[in-house]
């Protein structure tokens, strides 16, 4: 019963930590939508089959070149300049690979009749403002002028992709990482596995062993890693993690035991079954963009 009480105390804390992690720093501006894929037809001006086809092409283009192209249609900008909206959305979504910044975003604001192609930092040399303006003038505007939104977007993205392919753009090389830095996540993961195992095996006897083990293991790992921060942060972090995990597993065990349900590993989903409600919401097939940045490059037009 003691362990179960502990569990009840932990839940709100964990909820609070999660909330803080998710909210982060938010500026008081109009909220931005979440990305649904490469094509985000929030204004619903692209027929479903065209949208699916474009999504496939843009995904394939990313596979071939690592360049992330995104399309967004919105009904209205609510008075904001399209340049501001595009650069904010670009930053929030992180279009393009991190540090390579090889993303391109096309924004269409239907009611404002504004269109913009925003170019990531890393693509500015291969897709200049002048070229973007020309693509808008020759490919996009003639179609948008006749309210052929889908065709204008298709032709625009096709021209963008062709311009990149015919430029001397090379898919960004993968940067080598420092040697221990590459192994460290695995070491932490292995240690976590040991903590978990100990927590699981000792869940009927203690609800703190995992924490102690985590702290000790973290101290050793921090010492091997070197530097002041790993030595301080790893024992504390892994200690708290182990404590949480053990408390969770122990309370789950008590719950299963008192309600007469099985407590073996396989039949309790690794010991978590009985640990109360919650769990992770199912993800979509779109994995998100890579964390690229832009700095206002590109061109805008009114149609």
């Amino acid at each position: 019963m003691k362990a179960r009480f502990g569990m009840k105390r932990l839940s709100p804390l964990m909820a609070l930590l999660l909330t803080l992690a998710v909210t982060g720093v938010g500026l008081a501006q109009t909220p931005l939508p979440q990305p649904m894929g490469h094509v985000n037809d929030f204004a619903e001006v692209i027929p479903a089959d065209v949208e699916a086809g474009l999504e496939d092409s843009l995904r394939q283009f990313e596979v071939d070149t690592s360049v992330e192209l995104a399309v967004v249609t919105i009904p209205s900008l609510d008075g904001a300049p399209i340049e501001d909206y595009a650069v904010r959305l670009f930053q929030q979504w992180g279009i393009g690979k991190k540090d390579v910044d090889n993303g391109v975003l096309m924004v269409l604001a239907v009611q404002d009749r504004d269109v913009r192609i925003e170019v990531g930092y890393g693509m500015e040399t291969y897709l200049t403002d002048g070229q973007v303006g020309r693509i808008l003038d020759t490919q996009v505007l003639p179609e948008l002028g006749q309210n052929n939104y889908a065709l204008g977007i298709l032709k625009g993205m096709k021209a963008v992709a062709e311009t990149i392919k015919t430029s001397d753009y090379q898919p960004g090389a993968v940067r080598p990482r420092p040697p221990l830095g590459a192994v460290a996540p695995f070491l932490v993961a292995a240690l976590f596995g040991i903590v978990y195992l100990a927590s699981f095996l000792a869940r009927s006897k203690s609800f703190w062993l995992g924490g102690v083990l985590g702290a000790v293991g973290g101290a050793v790992l921090g010492w091997v890693w070197g530097g002041l921060w790993p030595i301080i942060a790893l024992p504390i972090g892994l200690g708290i993690l182990g404590l949480l995990l053990d408390a969770l597993l122990s309370s789950a065990y008590t719950h299963q035991k008192t309600s007469g349900r099985p407590t073996r590993w396989a039949s309790t989903l690794g010991g978590f079954s009985g640990a109360g409600r919650g769990g992770w919401s199912g993800g979509k097939s779109f994995g998100g963009f890579g964390g690229g940045r832009s700095g206002g490059g590109g061109a805008s037009r009114r149609f």
Binding site: E83, V87, T128, D129, G130, Q131, V132, G133, R134, D137, I232, G295, G296, G297, G298, A299, S300, R301, R302
Partner: protein, 192 residues
């Protein structure tokens, strides 16, 4: 009883130790944060100056492409050349910023003029130059805005309690925001 007292002493010692350690860590992280944020501001200002330079590099091309067409706009070109020379001669960042803002109104005027000349608008190289110029103006406004955001983050640390005490000990002062010249805050927009 003696055992209990020893346990209590140990507990108090532990609490004091943890408190001292966390205070030390707090000072350390606040100080390092100030250093980092201050350097981030300088790095961001370098971004702004990169875009200023890009703008100045574009001007000769623009002048070349449009000069023959409007003789009556010589005054605009003169102002542009003036500000450009002043920018090149400036040694202090705030002098450069001043010269850069002076160029802004002249450029905005030039863009308006070009828009009023259909013969000019239809020339592809002029359109392209105008796009490059508008793109640069937009880049400048984006980088300036990011500069101000970084100054805001830094100033929060400098001004808020208790980190303001640490900033005071180490002589870190609030930094000035970038303020665009009146009328120059809106980047000119090209609409053909």
């Amino acid at each position: 009883m003696g055992k209990l007292v020893a346990l209590g002493c140990g507990g108090v010692f532990l609490v004091v130790l943890v408190a001292a350690l966390s205070l030390g860590l707090y000072v350390r992280s606040t100080y390092n944060g100030l250093v980092e944020r201050s350097q981030a501001i300088d790095a961001q200002w370098a971004q702004v100056e990169t875009q200023y330079q890009r703008r100045f590099d574009l001007i000769p091309n623009l002048v070349e492409a449009t000069k023959g067409i409007f003789q009556q706009e010589q005054e605009v070109f003169g102002r542009l050349a003036d500000a450009r020379a002043r920018y090149a001669g400036a040694t202090q960042p705030n002098q450069r910023a001043e010269a850069a803002t002076q160029v802004e109104s002249a450029l905005a005027r030039l863009l308006v003029v070009v828009e009023n000349y259909p013969a000019l608008r239809s020339q592809e190289n002029v359109t392209q130059l105008m796009d490059e110029l508008a793109g640069t103006e937009n880049r400048i406004s984006v980088e300036r805005q990011r500069y101000n955001e970084r100054v805001q983050v830094y100033n929060n640390t400098v001004n808020r309690f208790p980190s303001n005490m640490i900033a005071g000990w180490f002589g870190y002062e609030a930094r000035a925001y970038f303020q665009a010249a009146p009328g120059a805050s809106v980047a000119p927009k090209v609409q053909f």
